[in-house]
């Protein structure tokens, strides 16, 4: 839930999603759901010469389970807030 919330705060920001097949796609984060499926707008594939498969694709929906990494815009991530929220969530896990 925590990570889902973080992604929601990054809506409309530029991110780079790296898939488990080594494809990297940069685009504007349009939406995310509880499975961390991701919708990107205005996409651009890195190394398009090697991966021309998505040349004509303007937006896409990526299955969360095939994501390896997402590079986030550091200036839009409040690390202190993240750490506090993470500690709080860990605390709730224990109480449960």
């Amino acid at each position: 839930m925590l990570i889902f919330s973080v992604f929601k705060t990054l809506t409309d920001q530029q991110v780079t999603v790296e898939l488990k097949n080594d494809l990297s796609i940069t685009g504007v984060l349009k939406s995310v759901d509880q499975f961390l499926n991701i919708r990107l707008d205005n996409i651009k594939v890195l190394d398009e010469a090697r991966h021309p498969h998505m040349m004509a694709v303007k937006n896409c929906f990526i299955r969360g389970s095939v994501v390896r990494y997402v590079q986030l815009p550091a200036e839009h991530v409040d690390t202190q807030l993240l750490e506090d929220a993470t500690r709080r969530e860990a605390q709730n896990q224990v109480k449960r």
Binding site: L19, K20, N21, D22, L23, S31, D33, Q34, F35, N37, R39, I43, R50, H51, P52, H53, M54, M55, A56, V57, K58, N59, C60, F61, I62, R63, V66, R68
Partner: protein, 101 residues
């Protein structure tokens, strides 16, 4: 790929599906269900290779299981038609590997 509601915007659009095994299939999204199974009409598989241009294999009306789909992309028709597929040389996309990836 649950949360089917986010696929609503793709109905009746020309889309590219990338599958777990690396295959690329284009077609018009005729429909989908809550498990993200997708029905494409007028679909074709695009087979990439380094030796030849892209080969298009007609598949017609095609049902793709939701589990198999890793990416759905909306195709910009103008850009797609401006590309001469016979000039494109590329390796097929690698399959997703959950074991060693």
């Amino acid at each position: 790929m649950s949360s089917g509601s986010s696929l609503q915007g793709y109905v009746d659009r020309r889309v590219l599906l990338i599958l777990q095994d690396g295959r690329a299939i284009v077609g018009v999204m005729a429909g989908y269900d809550q498990k993200s199974n997708v029905v494409l009409s007028d679909s074709k598989e695009r087979v990439y290779s380094m030796e030849d241009g892209v080969e298009e294999i007609p598949l017609g009306l095609y049902l793709v299981k939701g589990d198999m789909i890793i990416l759905i992309g909306e195709i910009d028709e103008a850009i797609d038609q401006s590309v001469d597929l016979s000039t494109i040389r590329a390796e097929p996309l690698p399959p997703i590997r959950y074991d060693a990836q």
